[in-house]
Subunit: 149 residues, 2 copies
């Protein structure tokens, strides 16, 4: 079967990441510029990881490209506002961005500044306090601090 598929119907292997990212950005109202697409290809490929402006810059440079410092920060903020990334707060030294935007928690080791995702269902909160009057709970973050044994 597959052997006889007419050439016209042969879809390319789908390295379509650049194309995919471009449309993803457009949907979010962001023009698919060279630098935004480059960053999207690196961060929005489905892998779950944590980056800082600094680590992302290093990664970009490693690919031979160059994106201005300010642009890295701006893009990170735009992607976060667009819901492509989630800012994680575990210390107040610099910002960490999580490519996993689904609900989940974190292990954090301050010694090596390492974050590890915890699937949402691995933490069960069987009792929660009542929110203060006139407030609604929007999210519950659990951060489990750990250290090397």
């Amino acid at each position: 079967m597959s052997m006889n598929v007419p050439p016209e119907e042969n879809k390319p292997p789908a390295p379509a990441t650049v194309v995919t990212m471009a449309s993803k950005l457009r949907v979010a109202g962001l023009r698919p510029t060279r630098q935004r697409v480059a960053i999207a290809c690196l961060l929005l490929d489905g892998r779950h990881r944590h980056v800082t402006a600094e680590s992302l810059t290093a990664e970009i440079n490693a690919t031979g490209l160059h994106v201005a410092g300010g642009t890295v920060y701006n893009t990170l903020n735009q992607f976060t506002n667009a819901g492509f990334l989630r800012r994680v707060t575990v210390h107040n030294e610099y910002s960490l961005f999580d490519t996993n935007t689904a609900h989940h928690h974190h292990f954090y080791d301050a010694a090596d500044d390492r974050l590890i995702d915890i699937p949402s269902d691995h933490v069960v909160l069987s009792r929660l306090p009542q929110a203060p009057d006139d407030r609604d709970i929007t999210r519950v973050d659990v951060i489990i601090h750990v250290t090397k044994k």
Copy 2:
């Protein structure tokens, strides 16, 4: 009974805060300097609250005293290391210090940058994930984000 207590045994009302703080500082290995005692009197009186370097500076000035900016930061760090305060991390804009060092959690409203304590027993974690190999859990922080209705 209380009417016949000899004058000598009449303890003063106990505005002894300055004295108390001085010894508390000494025990922690901190010389009871004018500025440290002033800050201790403001923060370590048993009330539970949250301060920033900026709000604390304003409070000090309100009492008519003056403590240099750098000293406020240094003192806040020394008190935290001494276990008199606890640094709370809910955003990475500036540091927040909690005078309640007991185990407890927080409500946080990003809109007005307000923190509200949650007694430890108002949150029950009936299931926790296993810590990564070679790591021990040192603390579990629960931050409940809220917004005005």
